[in-house]
């Protein structure tokens, strides 16, 4: 898998993504500075977490006009996979590549903690090695992560199974108590209509090695690797993912 990781001024999770792709998955990754205009050959583009342009104006609002974004939009329009994590999710929303917006956490605080997230749809290129309903533990690290959209948009996302991740409580229920940041309908991650652009606030790249305390985020990268290499099988969506069982 060849991965292009976009670095904006203020990105700070680009190296974590690089390590996840190269050291853990054995893929190829390279950084692309936001002033560049071409991606080069790649199977996946990652917009990493951080604070592009210091979150000035609104998170992601200025990064959205970086020269490389035109190439990313074209790549997505051609069916390429694009993953936006945290600030990357905010950029995707600001760029209109995903609906809705991310606003200040209900707590008013920057929250850096491990939360429970339920995989709502395991039938996507990003989640295929998980199973639907599986609860994973992932880190969040954001102050502006509450997902908002108008009611028709939310209804459409739900009806099309485009809510891919939801914050849940210890019982696995999408309750108010389990809602990490006050997101509407506990939404933690969504996918676009064509299923090739996904944004989420939690950081899967921070949970890819036992040393980091959890490997729950690895499934997302593993799913993308299989999608990129065309080795996606239906059976992988069922039961425990084989990377989890140590196969």
């Amino acid at each position: 898998m060849r991965v292009a990781i976009i670095t904006f001024p203020g990105s700070n999770c680009d190296y974590d993504c690089y390590k996840a792709v190269t050291d853990v998955l054995g893929g190829e990754a390279r950084f692309i500075w936001h002033r560049e205009t071409e991606l080069g050959p790649c199977d996946l583009v990652i917009l990493p977490g951080g604070f592009s342009y210091g979150d000035y104006l609104r998170a992601g609002a200025i990064a959205r006009f970086s020269p490389i974004l035109a190439a990313v939009q074209q790549f997505a329009a051609d069916g390429g996979y694009v993953l936006g994590v945290c600030n990357g999710f905010q950029v995707l929303c600001e760029a209109g590549m995903l609906p809705g917006a991310l606003v200040r956490n209900r707590s008013l605080q920057f929250q850096g903690e491990r939360v429970r997230v339920r995989v709502e749809n395991a039938d996507t290129a990003f989640t295929r090695v998980y199973h639907s309903g599986q609860v994973v533990r992932l880190h969040i690290a954001h102050g502006l992560g509450a997902y908002v959209a108008d009611a028709p948009t939310l209804d459409r996302l739900e009806a099309d199974a485009r809510v891919v991740f939801r914050y849940v409580d210890e019982r696995g229920a999408a309750s108010d108590a389990g809602n990490a940041n006050g997101s509407m309908r506990n939404i933690a991650g969504i996918i676009n209509e064509t299923g090739n652009v996904l944004g989420l606030m939690p950081h899967p790249e921070r949970s890819v090695e036992a040393l980091l305390g959890s490997t729950d985020g690895l499934g997302l990268f593993e799913s993308l690797r299989r999608a990129a290499e065309g080795t996606v099988g239906v059976a992988q969506a069922v039961g425990r993912p084989d990377w989890e069982a140590g196969v």
Binding site: L57, R58, A61, F65, C93, E94, P99, G100, A101, V103, R104, N105, R106, S107, L108, V148, A149, D150, G182
Partner: protein
């Protein structure tokens, strides 16, 4: 072309929870300003720009709001023209 000064006020959309405003409201209440019914926190931008006319200046600012300054999902904007300089 003339120089114009404009104020752009950006506020959270009505109906959208504004936790910052809520926290300030609670702080005001704790200072015995119990009559405060609601607080909404927005941004104020002061623009200085060259334009052909009042109408042109306002049209330019509206275009800026739509394309960058405000997020239509979460924010409303309001433009006030301070007149020519």
């Amino acid at each position: 072309m003339n120089e114009y000064r404009l104020e752009v006020r950006i506020t959270p959309r009505a109906g959208l929870l504004d936790p910052q405003g809520k926290a300030i409201q609670n702080a005001l209440r704790s200072l015995d300003f119990e009559t405060v019914r609601d607080v909404r926190v927005g941004r104020l931008l002061r623009l200085q720009l060259a334009a052909e006319s009042d109408v042109d200046a306002r049209a330019k600012a509206e275009d800026m709001c739509r394309r960058l300054l405000a997020n239509p999902v979460t924010e409303d904007f309001d433009i006030r023209l301070d007149g020519g300089i």
